[in-house]
Amino acid sequence: MKYEEAFRELETIVNQIEDGEISLDELSEKIKRASHLLNFCKSKLISTQQDVEAILKDLED
């Protein structure tokens, strides 16, 4: 999965919850999903950040 897709799905879930469109019964399920997506994004972000920093470091030389 791509970061952008993940982040968009995450945003969609947050919006649905905020708007009260989700029943209490589904809620915990959604939250679980969101939590999973968030973790995915974070790890993606971290790895990207590491890559970029490495490249930019080379650049300065």
Binding site: F7, D25, L27, I31, S35, L45, Q49, V52, L56
Partner: protein, 458 residues
């Protein structure tokens, strides 16, 4: 038969006495001399005196002038008027009326007033002048051109007259050798007969007019007597209208006569007339001499001037050609100087512009590369900054989302003391959905409980 009668002598005697008693003194009387009746032998004169009007004789009476009176009266008359007593003349005379039994009435004339006749003559002269003027002939002869060369002269004179002699003397014996041609047309020059005589000769001259340049009327030595003929209208008219100029040299001391007035020129005396003509020749001779002098000097001068001009022109050619060639030389020299000057300048000028290009060429690329390096460096640092910023912003978004999820998780709500009530597994949102005695299930954050509804209150 009538017995009472007088003898003729008785009557005439009576008349004579009457007249002599009545006309005791002399009177001044005006009358015309009808006939002079002068008798040279006795020296007496018996003029017929008349007064005329338009129709004829109005009055007539005989006059008597005795020899002694006549000579005295005539001399005085001639001296004053320049005229003889003539028939047709009106006179003012002093006379006594006399009656003689045998001769009848007569005026014994003791004096004649010459001043009266003079006035009469002057009046007649004025009349002639005004008539000639009225007829536009008064100036006719004067208007003719005087001949340029008055060589041929028709002379009206008397062979024996002193005037003619004087004239001839001057004209024939002039020192300059001028030759005039003249021909005498003899005429009476004074007295009443002169009018016809002169007129006759003028007519003759008219016949041969092509042979003559002018007419000269010459009279001299005759004194001032008998000149009234020259006041005659007819004669004056003839002179005025004559086709060639008429010159008068009548020679007198009285006033100018009408003929002299209308003549082309009045030379006064025959001598003057001769000199006048000679003067005309003189003028021509002087003109000829002057022209001869000009002919002798001017052409030589002209030739001399031309020679001089020619000489100057020759000199100018010499000078100008030198100037010309000198000028051309200068032009060439200038062209050479300029050629040298500008040719030498030409290449250094080109070198200069080449040098400026060379200078630019050595500077411009270095500048250019430096500029490129700068912008590359700028981009590089920009890239770093933007990348870091990019990642940072994504981190922010992620954190934000994480916070939201945490807040929305029901577990977290239950932890704060809330619980979820269910009836038959269904979430209860209000008391209407339950009744007393229902069995309900309560879920807490850390477990579930089951309980029964005892009472519902509102």
């Amino acid at each position: 038969m009538t017995e009472n009668y007088y003898t003729l002598s008785q009557i005439t005697e009576h008349v004579r006495k009457l007249i002599s008693r009545t006309y005791t003194q002399e009177y001044w009387i005006k009358a015309e001399i009808a006939q002079l009746n002068y008798y040279p032998k006795s020296g007496h004169c018996y003029p017929d005196l008349v007064e005329k009007n338009e129709t004829g004789v109005k009055a007539q009476i005989r006059g008597v002038i005795w020899k002694g009176s006549y000579e005295r009266i005539l001399e005085k008359f001639r001296n004053t008027t320049g005229r003889q007593l003539t028939e047709g003349m009106e006179i003012l005379f002093k006379a006594r009326l006399d009656y003689s039994s045998s001769y009848g009435f007569a005026f014994h004339i003791s004096d004649i007033d010459p001043e009266f006749s003079l006035g009469k003559m002057a009046a007649e002269k004025l009349k002639s002048i005004s008539r000639l003027k009225d007829e536009h002939v008064f100036f006719a002869n004067k208007a003719l051109n005087f001949p340029f060369f008055p060589k041929r002269i028709a002379i009206i004179s008397v062979e024996t007259s002193k005037g003619f002699h004087d004239f001839k003397n001057i004209v024939d014996n002039n020192t300059r050798g001028y030759r005039f041609f003249y021909m005498l047309f003899p005429a009476l020059l004074q007295g009443d007969e002169a009018v016809d005589s002169i007129a006759f000769q003028l007519e003759r001259i008219r016949k041969v007019i092509r042979h003559f340049d002018l007419v000269a009327i010459i009279r001299g030595g005759g004194g001032d007597v008998g000149l009234n003929c020259y006041n005659d209208y007819n004669l004056a008219r003839l002179v005025a209208t004559f086709p060639i100029p008429v010159i008068s040299g009548i020679g007198h001391s009285t006033n100018e006569t009408v003929v002299e007035m209308v003549a082309h020129k009045n030379a006064i005396t025959p001598t003057d007339l001769a000199y006048f003509l000679q003067q005309k020749f003189d003028n021509i001779a002087v003109g000829l001499d002057r022209m001869k002098a000009i002919l002798q000097s001017v052409p030589s001068d002209q030739i001399a001037d031309s020679k001089n001009l020619l000489y100057k022109l020759g000199e100018r050619i010499k000078n100008r050609q030198q100037l010309y060639i000198h000028h051309k030389n200068e032009q060439l020299f200038n062209a050479q100087i300029r050629l040298l000057k500008y040719s030498k300048r030409f290449i250094p000028h080109k070198k200069e512009s080449l040098l400026s290009k060379s200078l630019k060429l050595s500077q411009l690329p270095t500048n250019r590369i430096a500029r490129n390096q700068e912008s590359l460096h700028f981009l590089s640092s920009h890239l770093k900054k933007s990348s870091k910023h990019f990642i940072k912003s994504i981190w922010q978004k992620t954190h934000h989302t994480e916070e939201k999820i945490t807040l929305l998780d029901p577990v977290e709500i239950l932890k704060k003391g809330f619980s979820i009530t269910r009836v038959n597994g269904k979430i209860v949102k209000g008391i209407k959905e339950i009744k007393e005695g229902d069995l309900i299930e309560n879920q807490f954050s850390d477990g579930k409980t089951e309980s029964k509804i005892l009472k519902i209150s509102k």
